[in-house]
Amino acid sequence: MSVIEVVWMVAKILIVFVVLLLAMAYLTLVERRFVAWFQWRIGPNRVGPLGLIQPIADGVKLLFKQELIPAKADKFVYFLAPAISLIAAFAIISVIPITEHFYIADVNVAILLVLAISSLGTYGIIFAGWSSGSKYPLVSGLRACAQMISYELALGFAVIGVVLMAGTFSLREIVLGQEHIWYFIPQILGFIVFLIAGVAEANRAPFDMPECENELVAGYHTEYSAMKFAMFYLGEYVAVINVGMLATVLFLGGWHGPAIFGAGLIGLSNLFWFILKTCAVIFFFIWIRATLPRFRYDQLMRFGWMVLLPLALLNIIITAGIRAFIQ
């Protein structure tokens, strides 16, 4: 490991962080504008042209806000929760290959690492719920935990279909294996299960049980304010971007463009296709948030255990059957 290698890697990490933070900040604006248009409203458009400075104004406001930590809270765990949830959300990005040559780390068990780190994110939420010393967050934390572990199973099973197709855990090799056919075509069932479970993993509507405002005030971050609240918010949007990128890498062919467009500009077209696909998945998330009403909690759990899990298992058996008899 030479010095140049380390410096280049630090630069790459900085680039990824800056781009990600900007993307996250503007994702909040894009989501608010889109949801407003879906609902025949206008949305935030006062701060700067088209409301483009809104995310920065929000960030500055949250930075200067007073922080109220409840007297009953367990201080250490209360402090730990947003940090875990943000770090876990960020850590996943380190193994995602953005283009063939631009990635932070190519790890041989990348898929397992992604699943492991995303299940660590559950700790952030349950710690927040428990340590606040308040009743709504406690209920929300328990719900979130049960929901996330249930849908994590469906997510894991859905990914196994892709592993059967590719024969590797490395995300980069999975994308390389999709040069001729993107896995969402042979794995359509797995892709649907992955998307639904991904929405539930990111705690997004219509599965945003942990923070449904008409039952639980604001869910697990009811007692959080100022920067700690902002960190939860950040973590949630990074999780959305993560699921978008994972769906792109696992099912939508990663950096490969459709064959009719050819190779295009060296490297840049790869980046373009990756970003386009990720944005499409994220737009799909915003779309269903604006369209679908929230599930009831018992419906949510029944759907996870009775529909998604058997479907994902069926997908594994079908895929393995096809792969076993066709050379």
């Binding site: 397992l112 349950i126 572990i149 099973f157 592993v163 059967l164 018992d298 899990l309 058997p310």
Partner: protein, 169 residues
């Protein structure tokens, strides 16, 4: 809730080890073709560096906010939120046992996921063999054995279903 996948993965989370002693020992047996793809893609030190970066980001955010924000707590601000009512008692109370049942169910299935992942990775090699492998491919038996395993899992799922572990009302 500790995740089975998480535990397995972090047990193998060796920072900075790209070629361990086990790898060298196995290389002498002439299995480099099998092991090479496994041992070349282990950039765990970069993953660790990235996590350190995220940690630094968190510290910067919190420190900056701590310096800039005002700090004027009073009694009302420090109470927990209960829609304007006076808070009664502790919130660390007993809760529904269904959460434990779900956690147990999760544990059962998550361990199975851990078993299925290595099978899925090696499936083509198991069925058709590989030029670099010494053992004979076992053909469709790789599929039948996993179906038998999933069948046992299905019995567990049906049992939980009959006992009402998956119902919430």
């Amino acid at each position: 809730m500790p995740s089975g996948i998480g535990v397995t993965c972090f047990a193998g989370f060796k920072l900075g080890v790209t070629r361990g002693p086990q790898a060298t020992a196995l290389l002498h047996l002439g299995m480099e073709k099998v092991l090479d793809p496994v041992y070349t893609y282990m950039d765990y030190n970069w993953v660790a560096l990235f996590i350190v970066g995220a940690f630094v980001l968190v510290v910067i955010c919190l420190a900056l906010a701590a310096v800039l924000r005002p700090h004027r707590p009073d009694f009302a601000k420090l109470t927990t939120y209960e829609c304007g009512e006076q808070t009664i008692g502790s919130s660390w109370i007993r809760f529904n046992t269904r959460y434990y049942v779900i956690a147990l169910m999760f544990l059962v299935f998550d361990v199975d996921v851990v078993f299925i992942f290595p099978w899925a990775v090696a499936f083509r090699m198991l069925t058709f063999g590989d030029t670099s492998l010494y053992f004979q491919p076992i053909g469709p038996a790789a599929l039948w054995e996993m179906i038998a395993f999933l069948g046992i899992l299905l019995v567990a799922w049906l049992y939980a279903y009959k006992r009402g572990a998956l119902e919430w009302v």
